[in-house]
Symmetry: C2
Subunit: 332 residues, 2 copies
Amino acid sequence: MNKQLLFVKRPIGDADATTWELASNPIPEIEEGQLLIKQHYVSLDPAMRGWMNNSKSYIAPMEIGSVMRAGSVGEVIASKNPDFQVGQYVAGIGGVQQYAVTDGQGYYPVDPKMAPLPTYIGTLGMTGMTAYFGITEVGKIKEGDVVLVSGAAGAVGSIVGQVAKIKGCTVVGIAGGADKCKYVVEELGFDTCIDYKNENVATKLKEYCPKGIDVYFDNVGGDILDIALTRLRRHARIVICGAISQYNNKTAIKGPSNYLSLLVNRASMQGMVVFDYADRYKEGALQLGTWMAEGKLKSREAIYEGIENFPETYNRLFTGDKKGKLVLKVIE
Amino acid sequence: MNKQLLFVKRPIGDADATTWELASNPIPEIEEGQLLIKQHYVSLDPAMRGWMNNSKSYIAPMEIGSVMRAGSVGEVIASKNPDFQVGQYVAGIGGVQQYAVTDGQGYYPVDPKMAPLPTYIGTLGMTGMTAYFGITEVGKIKEGDVVLVSGAAGAVGSIVGQVAKIKGCTVVGIAGGADKCKYVVEELGFDTCIDYKNENVATKLKEYCPKGIDVYFDNVGGDILDIALTRLRRHARIVICGAISQYNNKTAIKGPSNYLSLLVNRASMQGMVVFDYADRYKEGALQLGTWMAEGKLKSREAIYEGIENFPETYNRLFTGDKKGKLVLKVIE
């Protein structure tokens, strides 16, 4: 049998136990051109909250009754598709279920001998690609830049900051809690980190970036984006990657009141979606993998177990009760 | 005697009669290196409201008691500066006064035989440069783009839209009132114009730009910026030139709630200040002047008279009671 998590109700505000239902269905037979994947791990991402809304976005909204959309990695256990062989490991968007049937579109091979499987949905997957192309191509970092990263202990933010350090930037993180800030500085090598739960972000930002910031990589939106806007240097770039502080709003989201700082400082604010770099994923994964092998880049996953624990694991994205990339093991 | 308008009180909200005082002072003697200019026209611009605030911006705040800052054009009537000759006409930042003494810095010669004097503080001055470099360099327009321009009947907006038409774009304006919209379409050649005072901007924008917009040139901010954000095409560019709807706010300005449309559409929002293009003003003026001579570009000034009428003329910037570039003749 195939345990699947079905998306059954669009949440208003926070997703909760009524958003999903666990189902158990027979593993389907595959047809010509298809393959069957035994899924080991699924990826949990803040973007999931957006996919649940019935509104126009960069990807179609999830349909009620469908398997919860999620990145995943697993083993091919049957194949009638010449591009995939039994025993091969692959990553793709397999959803929150134990077995996935697909025609292979969007799937690509991964090598468990090169890196642990969860890494392929983290640092060497969409998460890493988002961080790498976001900070280099949209943020356009160069040596000597002062870079601010929110969600610094999170999946994307932790990689963004490390890449910026490798590229010779001064990097300031923002994270929730002293423990996370310690991790960001001592383990990940950021220059400093602001604890937004216990420190005054505006005051600390002024202290840590007395000359202002060249790049702000924003994962959170809300008040922190507004504070960052007050500290822009001339020609600064803001990368809009996400706005986790606003995803569960029941009312209109908070727009950045200080956006006219873009005018004063001839600065820009640009959005990004990782899919635009699909033809360069190999290049990104090779670079990040090389840095990992050289010991310059740390990849950390927070791995939880049990498909039935998806809702409470998902919740950690918003409570912040985890470090690094959030991953769920869905099969024994 | 030299009639001068002094800035005597920082306004909270709207500027009013108490913001300025008219003074009459002797025309100063010039010293070695200086020149004396008899000023004919001064420029009135929404940016003036920002200069009155005591806050960090792209230019120092005006000091209390100083001559009101303004672009100006006039005739050199005395010179102890080898770069300027008596009888020459010059433009610069001479302030709201009848006679200006300067060391010549920031002044450049203009030719009243080529164009009427007010044009040199309008289409061939900072206004034209803002429009030209804003829409071409920041907006990066290309043939076939759908371009939206707010403040379309105003000084900058009217030029932006005409330049975009010359460059082969489809151009939609937004202006206040049926009369202005008629002017924008029939006189300036925009494809369509939305009357924000009497029409539903969101509905009309959808009707006029069914496939969305590639570039939004924003002079107004507020609700119209938020509506424009809902209609972005992929890789759209928003040029933040101004936010006249917010300049007289007594509370925090309204940030664009729909800014996450930048993410969804991989779009950017970038601020601009015309001074950054100072080394290319000649190129810009030559291009705009050529288009004017060819009859492709219309330049319109709304000229009022009398330095004592500055406050009520200034007020027209915000009531919108004028078309084109607002200019005040300050001398007989």
